[in-house]
């Protein structure tokens, strides 16, 4: 018994340490930073008035302040950016889910010897660098590309105005979906693979048609996979900045871009930290809601 407890403790130690080091400590640093004044050269203003003549170089502001939070809540602009990022993340998650589910099902139901190959094909794009793949989309979606010409000639036949594919919200969605699709397929596949085919046979014997077999047998069983896949897509998209930077148009700013700007262009670490904290809170509340939802579902079905 004692030994079991020791093993359990030993096993859980590394992940706990990991979380402590890479989540708790940075979060605490971020919280402290958000209450401070920005330094003149980036970084932070000192906490107390420096003893020597260094004072002239600073902003003349020291100590802790609620300034950044006041700034954040002083107008609706930042809330709008959050809403927009949530909308993009939600859309990406839904599109990924719709695209990934059939693929995952196909892999899970094909002969065992092909499955590994198919999974390999799903993760194969990771072999090349993320940014290079995004730049490739710039070429595919560019106004002089074959793809653009094709789309626009179809639109022309239909009597519609030509569209610009690159530098648009559409391009951003293409990018986010493309990059995150494997993260949806893999958890779904691992879930679907474990389903017992006997259940489907039983449902068929009881008179369920194709749709009913999916909706009442496969889908409810796959919900854990759906939730973990959605979390793996939703959360990274929420903090994404590279894709809107590269593929986005003039209005495609997400919360990630704003945070990046605070640390580079604006050199305003405290406000960047405040934005990050708000983002973390938003992500945690989404994750909390999802868990609560999943739990209440399983509780009600039992």
């Amino acid at each position: 018994m004692n030994r079991l407890r020791l093993t359990r403790w030993l096993v859980s130690l590394p992940p706990t340490l990991f979380l402590l080091l890479f989540f708790v400590v940075p979060s605490l640093l971020m919280i402290v930073t958000s209450f401070r004044y920005p330094g003149e050269f980036g970084g932070l203003a000192p906490l107390s008035v420096p003893a020597t003549g260094l004072a002239e170089e600073g902003s003349g502001l020291y100590g802790l302040t609620l300034e950044t939070y006041r700034f954040f809540f002083s107008d609706i602009l930042y809330a709008e950016i959050f809403l927009k990022s949530f909308a993009v993340a939600t859309a990406t998650t839904l599109i990924c889910l719709v695209m990934a589910y059939p693929v995952a099902m196909l892999i899970a139901r094909s002969a065992k010897k092909y499955r590994n190959l198919m999974v390999l094909l799903v993760v194969l794009p990771f072999a090349s660098n993320f940014l290079i793949r995004i730049y490739a989309w710039m070429i595919i979606l560019g106004p002089e590309s074959t793809f653009s010409h094709l789309i626009n000639s179809v639109l022309d036949v239909l009597g519609l105005e030509p569209v610009m594919l690159l530098f648009s919200p559409f391009a951003v969605l293409v990018g986010t979906v493309y990059v995150h699709l494997p993260f949806m397929i893999l958890p779904l596949y691992t879930n679907l693979e474990k389903h017992d085919p006997v259940l489907l046979d039983a449902a068929q014997d009881l008179g369920a048609n194709r749709w009913q077999r999916f909706w009442r047998v496969t889908w409810p069983q796959s919900l854990p996979g759906v939730f973990s896949g959605s979390a793996l897509v939703f959360i990274p998209v929420l903090g994404m900045f590279a894709i809107p930077d590269i593929l986005g148009g003039t209005g495609d700013i997400l919360i990630g871009n704003l945070i990046k700007d605070q640390f580079l262009g604006t050199r305003d670490w405290p406000f960047g930290s405040t934005l990050s904290i708000m983002l973390t809170l938003a992500v945690l509340s989404v994750a909390g809601l999802a868990t609560w939802f999943a739990r209440s579902r399983t509780a009600s079905s039992n």
């Binding site: 920005p38 330094g39 003149e40 709008e80 148009g249 003039t250 700013i253 050199r267 305003d268």
Partner: protein, 369 residues
């Protein structure tokens, strides 16, 4: 004697193992150590000719190692995060201002830089370093407009004014074929110049006016873009871009080399523009200020300096370099502006944290609307 050397070697080894430091950085801490014959350069991407580097290496019997950054913010952020050991940096004026005020730079010993006389006095004594105690001009770029000559003249649009990227009456003919820089300061400066203010005006009312101007023009722009406009102009996807003169030079070269049906031109708008002067400065953390001084003097030789301009199309503050620069580059007024144009160029100045936060808010609003 020998034994003591061996012993000290072992002690040193032990210390370096315990401290987790490499022997390389150990010897680097000693400035008089001539074994470490390396000049460490922290420079912009593609901002020196490989031939020049090789020639310097031969001359000084040393090695040059280079690290690169793609904008001033990256340079400052990396230094702020603790990057050290660089002998020489090449920041732009406002970033240099920050570094000087931070006390991060080493003063120059001008007796070791006789070639300083080659620099055009118009580029010395800048506001950031009035006596050139820390900096020697390296090269400059101008933030201007590049365009597809055939398309724009074909449409009968003006090419000598910021109006082409701000006025809807012109923009509606080139909708979706225009990009502007994804830089708060540069775009604001362009708008301020167009409105008739100074590029480093910090009056909030003027900023708001510039914001309104930008938001009105934004629906016609394809994107805010800092790097890929070079390629997009050169392949014909873009017809007008707000960007740096050396990038436009690159785009023009690329379009010519690939035999396109059009050519890329670039001009300084008549309302004036932003001049970025990049200077060589010594970082305090460098171990070889002696080599750095030799390098500065070497780079100030006309021939070496000209090589940079011939490669990148950057402006050149070095008078001695002029005879060695390709005539068509010298003849380009967007790279070597005449006195009247030069007088309308301004350098950006650093702004304080309240202004930065306000600008960031305006920028967010611009992006979101």
């Amino acid at each position: 004697m020998k034994a003591s050397i061996i012993r000290s070697y072992f002690v040193c080894l032990l210390i370096s193992i315990l401290a987790g430091c490499t022997s390389g950085s150990g010897s680097g801490d000693n400035p008089s150590n001539q074994q470490d014959n390396v000049l460490r350069l922290f420079n912009w991407n593609n901002y020196i000719s490989q031939k020049t580097v090789e020639r310097f290496e031969q001359m000084c019997q040393c090695r040059v190692t280079q690290d690169y950054y793609s904008d001033n913010e990256e340079l400052l952020a990396k230094l702020a995060a603790g990057a050290t050991g660089y002998d020489l940096l090449v920041p732009t004026g406002d970033a240099m201002d920050t570094l000087i005020r931070q006390g991060a730079l080493r003063e120059l010993d001008k007796s070791k830089i006789p070639n300083l006389k080659n620099i055009d006095p118009g580029y010395l004594k800048t506001k950031f370093d009035p006596d050139n105690r820390y900096s020697v001009p390296y090269a400059n770029t101008i933030t201007l407009l590049g365009f597809n000559r055939e398309k724009i003249t074909g449409l009968g649009l003006p090419t000598d004014s910021w109006a082409i990227i701000f006025e809807p009456e012109y923009l509606k003919k080139i909708k979706g074929r225009v990009t502007v820089l994804d830089s708060q300061r540069e775009l604001l400066a362009a708008a301020l110049k167009y409105l008739g203010y100074s590029a480093h005006d910090t009056d909030e009312a003027h900023w708001q006016q510039a914001k309104t101007l930008i938001i009105r023009a934004k629906p016609y722009w394809a994107a805010f873009n800092n790097t890929s406009y070079i390629r997009e102009l050169a392949v014909g996807n873009l017809w007008v871009a707000h960007g740096y003169s050396n990038d436009m030079f690159q785009a023009a070269q690329d379009a010519k080399k690939t035999g396109r049906q059009f050519s890329i031109d670039f001009v300084i708008p008549k309302e004036g523009a932003v001049l970025s002067l990049d200077s060589m400065v010594l970082h305090r953390s460098g171990h070889r200020p002696d080599l750095a001084h030799r390098f500065i003097n070497f780079m100030l030789e006309g021939e070496n300096s000209a090589e940079l301009t011939n490669l990148t199309g950057s402006g050149n503050p070095n008078l001695d370099a002029r005879p060695h620069i390709h005539p068509e580059i010298i003849a380009n007024p967007a790279i070597f502006p005449d006195a009247a144009q030069f007088s309308r160029l301004e350098m950006l100045e650093d702004i304080n944290h309240t202004q930065r936060r306000l600008l960031s808010r305006i920028w967010t609003e611009i992006k979101l609307r």
